[in-house]
Symmetry: C2
Subunit: 261 residues, 2 copies
């Protein structure tokens, strides 16, 4: 549950890499890619295994190839906050990340690890890479700010609605099908992501369901169908697209709101 599962020998992997044309790597040409290939190491993880680096090493950069990982941070008493979910093409920059951060696999996954120093050396030579890294950081930051707004100012229902829509758009971006949307986080993990408890997440799901906004695939409680994206978006507080009608509001009934099956 702690040690890496498998370390493949480095070689010429990049050309066939699943994320060869995503984000950071897409900025490199074949020759540059070969350089990267030479210094990158590859690691597979089983669900729940976490990515640990030798304490001495400066935190390297890890690029996700397949699967999903979560980045979380804990308080000394165990309360934990999930900061982000990493998907193929995303990368984790151990840079200035404060201690206490854990990266662990949600599904079978594989990552490509590049020592920070080497990445820097490459980036110096290839501006496109540097630029791509910066773009990645910027979008990560934008995500963090959305998340901040959610945690600081949204109600449980709003957070969950926001979460679902965001997951859907991420899923689509990675090529997964959003209909139904597959949740790779358990209820407890969703709770830790949204700053709520498992129970609240669960209750909120049922309310959204009863209100007809979502539907779970029978027997597969990790598969959600988003039935009414618009109302969900209103609930999540999406700013109306500059020219929308009235102040619409979506309310969820507490009691036994018996809605569509």
């Amino acid at each position: 549950m702690e040690t890496p599962f498998f370390i493949a020998p480095r070689g010429r992997r990049c050309p066939g890499c699943p994320v060869r044309n995503c984000t950071v790597c897409s900025s490199l040409d074949a020759v540059q890619l070969a350089e990267l290939d030479a210094v990158a190491s590859f690691r597979k993880l089983l669900p729940k295994q976490s990515l640990v680096f030798e304490d001495d090493l400066e935190m390297p950069v890890a690029n996700v190839l397949t699967g999903q990982l979560k980045v979380s941070r804990s308080l000394p008493d165990g309360r934990t906050q999930v900061m982000r979910v990493l998907r193929p093409g995303d990368f984790f920059d151990g840079g200035k990340i404060s201690a206490g951060v854990t990266v662990s696999a949600l599904t079978d996954s594989s990552v490509c690890i590049v020592p920070r120093e080497l990445l820097d050396r490459l980036a110096v030579k290839h501006r496109a890479l540097e630029r791509a890294v910066r773009a990645e950081l910027e979008s990560e930051l934008a995500d963090a700010q959305d998340h901040l707004l959610a945690l600081g100012r949204m109600t449980a229902a709003e957070r969950v609605a926001d979460f679902l829509l965001r997951e859907q758009s991420h899923a689509l971006k990675v090529g997964e099908n959003g209909h139904p949307l597959t949740l790779h986080l358990s209820r407890a993990e969703i709770a830790d992501y949204l700053g709520l408890t498992t129970e609240t997440v669960s209750r909120t799901f049922t309310r959204l369901k009863n209100a007809g906004l979502i539907r779970f695939e029978p027997g597969r409680l990790a598969r959600v169908h988003i039935r009414d994206p618009r109302r969900l978006a209103v609930l999540a507080g999406s700013h109306p697209p500059a020219g929308t009608r009235i102040e619409e509001t979506v309310t969820l009934s507490q009691g036994a709101g018996q809605a569509p099956t």
Copy 2:
């Protein structure tokens, strides 16, 4: 309350700039600096004025020279979350920041604005600059993650304690005196920063005061003395420095805890 107060003509300002040796700018030599100088514009803001850019322009980058600004984001119904406080040397990267973000001055302040495109052009030529920008983004990201943990998982008292300590260390970094610490945010703004209400922030301050952890300078409720940094840090949930004793806990009494004056 919305329009810029003053736009100074561009010239050779950089050499005498208050942040010439901070973060991003410190990575440039005199020649490079002159290039930057040529494309940068300068703007002063009075408290409450906000930094608005022409909608057409791609969000530029702004470097804070003097004063303090807050970066916040709002929900359509007005709830707002303060994401960050900018101090001299910090910069605001409008890059991928989602719409609805506002930057406004807390105190008299001045910023140096560089159109994004121009910064990029400069960065291409000077790797140190690119690197500095990246470092800045990384530390911003690390801050955002701390903030996320606070909003998602900490109690009001913990958030406030954490806030105070963080403010103190920032103040020191910028050369302000941390004894007493000057709060540049109003109670309401602190609330918006911490995801609480004004009342809760106020009550929490008095409890911390009654517990003897902090003290307000008489008559200057924006000046706090941190009397017991250690207990404050424990309250804020600082991870014990790897080798500390027992599980210490700090509790704040609700009732009329009459402690040191």
